[in-house]
């Protein structure tokens, strides 16, 4: 048994380096994808750790907003470049329209109905009206757009801006809105076109800040106005990662309505809170 194991282990050690994908495999896979690529397609690597090599070959087709996407559901066509039999989460759902092998790589194209985005709150971040309010809801401070951010007075870190956030060691494009002591940071979109649901995802940015502090952050989402408004709250902690919430907005589908995000924390020290949201049909 031991002798057989020793021989097997030696053989695998000698053979394994030759089983890894080569540059030529990646180049051929990239050619195949470029030939069939359409705007709005998603390209993913499986396993995920191969993503830098995928972007080396196809990074021009994976802009920041795609690489840092909220989730995979808005993509109807997904190109998966896989090795060693791995599968990407983003390509699990749907019908396989194409499968081609290139050496140690397999290219699959998966097609499924895409969720149509009616309003992308991150892309429309300049539409937001940001205020700092006290516990009773009274406006303490109005904040203003200074170019790369909407800055509130008096507290340097009290701003909202679009940026790449690192949540659970993955990158997302989101709105960074740090909570402040004793107040709510309110990010209001006065006129968002709604679909049947509002997808929100939130998390705590920056691994060193998560190491530094453990305070929870509360996010309240208010869709619509008056008595018919939908009011949803969620608490985000260090361990939650990129926490998704789905809010049913089918009653407001097709309408333009205000959507308000309120960020607060009982322990706001070192809480770099980021969230993204999309209204989807």
């Amino acid at each position: 048994m031991i002798a057989l194991l020793a021989l097997t282990e030696t053989a695998v050690a000698l053979i394994a380096p030759w089983r890894a994908p080569r540059d030529a495999d990646w180049a051929a896979a990239a050619r195949e994808i470029r030939a069939g690529f359409r705007a709005g397609d998603l390209i993913v690597a499986a396993p995920g750790w191969a993503d830098p090599i995928l972007r080396l070959h196809l990074g021009d087709l994976i802009p920041v907003e795609v690489a840092g996407r909220l989730d995979d559901d808005r993509y109807g066509r997904v190109w998966e470049v896989s090795q060693r039999g791995a599968r990407a989460d983003g390509a699990r759902r749907g019908a396989v329209a194409l499968t081609r092998r290139f050496g140690a790589l397999t290219v699959r194209r998966v097609e499924r109905p895409a969720e149509i985005v009616a309003y992308d709150f991150v892309a429309h971040w300049t539409d937001a009206e940001v205020t700092r309010r006290n516990g009773a809801g009274a406006t303490l401070m109005a904040c203003r757009n200074v170019g790369d951010r909407i800055q509130c007075p008096d507290i340097s870190y009290n701003f909202v801006r679009r940026q790449i956030v690192e949540v659970d060691n993955r990158l997302r494009q989101a709105l960074l809105a740090q909570p402040v002591p004793g107040a709510f940071v309110v990010v209001a979109f006065p006129a968002a076109r709604l679909g049947s649901k509002l997808i929100v995802a939130a998390g705590l940015h920056n691994t060193w800040m998560r190491k530094e502090a453990r305070g929870p952050v509360d996010l309240r989402v208010i869709v619509g106005a008056g008595t018919g408004a939908r009011d949803t709250s969620v608490t985000v902690r260090n361990e939650d990662g990129w926490k998704p919430i789905t809010i049913d907005t089918s009653a407001l589908r097709g309408q333009v309505a205000p959507v308000r995000f309120e960020v607060s924390s009982p322990a706001p020290y070192a809480r770099h809170f980021g969230f993204a949201a999309e209204a989807r049909e």
Binding site: E9, V12, V64, E166, N169, L171, K211
Partner: protein, 621 residues
């Protein structure tokens, strides 16, 4: 020609194993880059040499007291204090001074941490400065291999003992640390030296004295040495358990007719043996004497050193797909965290070695008291009737199984405590690995004996020569995967995982740590150097300034290659930059995307398809 005595043969093999280890490590070390810690130890070692240089000058001027003044000491010895004691760093500095090929008055003159006053007269053994720095660590690794062989020869026939020695060095993660001028290789040697000296002290008082000095040297190598007594005392108490059991109430032999009382052994407590007294007395003395930085304020600075490690920060480290940088707070995370040293051992040590170790553990567990570990080798029968504090193992079986169990599992178990930092991964419990290899050697010897006996009883009953050669052939066979895996892993030993994990790719898929401290850039230095954007505006991420200085001193980087500094601002100032793939550095990749305006790298350094370092250019390729 005169035939060597058995003792002579053993010594010949000792030197052959040591020489082969030095040759292997020297042949490959140049491919391995400089981590953050090694860069600092280059700098500190050279500065410590500066103290000796100045001591020589002061001696010539008749002003020797100046070198021992508070400022004369602190000027040199406060470098890398209170982090680590200085035995190895001093050896690294002295080795560099003795063996480098001096181009010190050339363009890199200003990169030395102490002024270069002229061309150094040296014995120029090594073309690179870093090899001269690393040489003492490589010698320590050779010493370990030699000691494992000699220790194992106490229980095992030559093939199995030699295999134990080879299986010690042929472990990818240990091999990585064995060739660099850091402390994890040397402290593994010293942990084994302390254990070996303790073992010999059980029946030889000379080793009882020597063990104290050896322990003192271990204290001067790295703080792991603090734990060594904790792993020796339980073995000692187990070995002398009869003393403790003598205090229990007498057992009655049944209750029926003819029952008799078992004879009461003489009551006594285990004596404190010479070896522990020696370690207690000589250890701190050697430790204090070796470290000049302590001399100016002994109590305060010793406390600072202890606190540095007792309150050590939890650096980021990936394990089981999670990033760990704090003690876990939930029960689930504590349980996952507690598995880390066991799983890391199971996924990094070559599988054949692990299987042999399991077989060896079974052999040790089944061994009867006073019997030999392996049939045909010296027995553990007591050599005397009366105990002695000078030879506390002379009247009892020395319990080799318990000794190897504690020495192997002790360091691993300490790192299983969830509150201990795990940022070093396997390096924090490397001290267990030589003992694991010895246990593997025991397993090999037992299996070889069974195989030989099987052949003798079967169709090869007449094949005496075949049977004689079989243990050696079997030993070579089981060493083959370990040596192959180790060579395969180089120079990225920390990224490598074993057959169970699935190699480099399997380790990455399991979410195991891939690397740390920026050493893996070495194979792409040429590419960086050739890129005009690296001149003045290069972002080096986790490559420390001291490492860059050494790359330039050795001519591996041009003097004009820049360094834009740390973090987000460093990336903002740069045109070209690299990123090391560790889970917690994802934040930095986000900065590259935003600041450089692209997600597309210009180069990815990978091993077997697993990315280790990514290079970005502002604006994209």
């Amino acid at each position: 020609m005169k035939r060597l005595s058995p003792r002579g043969v053993d010594w010949g093999i000792t030197f052959m194993l040591a020489f082969a280890t030095v040759a292997w490590l020297l042949a490959v070390e140049g491919g391995q880059g400089f981590g953050r810690d090694e860069g600092q130890y280059f700098r500190a070692g050279e500065r410590y040499w500066g103290w000796f240089e100045e001591l020589g000058e002061n001696l010539a001027r008749g002003q020797i007291a100046r070198s021992f003044s508070a400022s004369g000491i602190d000027h040199y010895w406060s470098d890398n204090a209170p982090d680590h004691p200085v035995i190895m760093k001093t050896l690294y500095g002295l080795s560099w001074r003795a063996f480098h090929r001096c181009s010190c008055t050339g363009p890199a003159r200003g990169l030395h941490p102490i002024p270069v006053r002229g061309r150094h007269a040296t014995l120029p053994l090594f073309a690179r400065d870093s090899t001269a720095f690393r040489f003492p660590a490589i010698l320590f690794s050779a010493l370990l291999v030699a000691m494992v062989w000699r220790f194992a020869r106490g229980f095992l026939p030559r093939p199995a003992a030699a295999a134990a020695a080879v299986l010690t060095i042929a472990q990818p993660h240990y091999f990585f640390h064995a060739q660099i001028s850091c402390f994890d290789g040397p402290i593994t040697t010293m942990a084994f030296a302390v254990g070996f000296a303790y073992w010999k002290s059980l029946r030889d008082p000379r080793w009882g004295l020597a063990a104290g000095a050896v322990f003192g040297v271990a204290l001067g190598v790295k703080h792991n040495a603090w734990l060594m007594p904790i792993f020796l005392v339980p073995h000692y108490l187990w070995m002398r358990r009869a003393d403790l059991l003598s205090w229990l109430p007498r057992r009655r032999g049944g209750g029926g007719e003819g029952a008799t009382d078992t004879p009461r052994p003489k009551r006594r407590l285990p004596r404190v043996p010479l070896v522990f007294v020696s370690m207690l007395v000589l250890g701190p003395i050697v430790f204090f004497l070796h470290w000049p930085w302590l001399w100016n304020a002994p109590a305060q600075r010793t406390r600072a050193y202890l606190n540095r490690h007792l309150q050590h920060e939890h650096y980021n480290f990936e394990y089981a797909g999670l990033n760990w940088n704090n003690p876990p707070v939930t029960t689930t995370r504590k349980l996952i965290r507690a598995t880390s040293p066991f799983v890391e051992t199971g996924l990094t040590v070559p599988v054949t070695t692990l299987m042999l170790a399991i077989a060896g553990a079974v052999v040790l567990a089944r061994r009867r008291r006073d019997a030999a570990v392996v049939a045909g080798e010296p027995s553990e029968a007591p050599a005397a009737d009366a105990p002695s504090w000078l030879r506390p193992g002379v009247d009892v079986d020395r319990a080799p199984g318990a000794f190897l169990l504690v020495q192997t599992l002790g360091p691993i178990a300490v790192l299983a405590v969830p509150s201990t930092p795990i940022f070093g991964g396997v390096k924090h419990f490397l001290t267990a690995m030589p003992y694991l290899a010895v246990v593997a050697g025991i397993g090999l010897a037992a299996l070889a004996a069974k195989l030989t006996a099987g052949l003798a009883a079967g169709r090869f009953a007449d094949g005496a020569r075949l049977r004689a050669a079989l243990p050696a052939a079997f030993a070579v066979l089981v060493c083959l995967p370990a040596v192959t895996e180790t060579q395969r892993s180089h120079p990225d030993g920390l990224s490598h995982y074993n057959l169970l994990a699935g190699g480099f790719a399997g380790g990455a898929s399991l979410g195991m740590n891939r690397q740390f401290w920026g050493y893996s850039v070495a194979p792409m230095l040429d590419r960086i150097d050739a890129d005009p954007a690296s001149k003045g505006t290069m972002y080096w991420h986790d490559v420390i300034h001291d490492a860059l200085s050494m790359y330039k001193r050795e001519g591996r980087l041009s003097m004009t290659v820049g360094d834009t500094g740390f973090g987000e601002e460093g990336i903002r100032r740069s045109q070209l930059g690299i990123l090391f793939h560790e889970k917690h550095w994802a934040l930095y990749e986000g900065w590259f995307w935003e600041i450089y305006g692209t997600t597309r790298p210009v180069f990815v350094r990978a091993r077997e398809g697993v990315p280790l370092v990514t290079m970005y250019r502002r604006g994209g390729p």
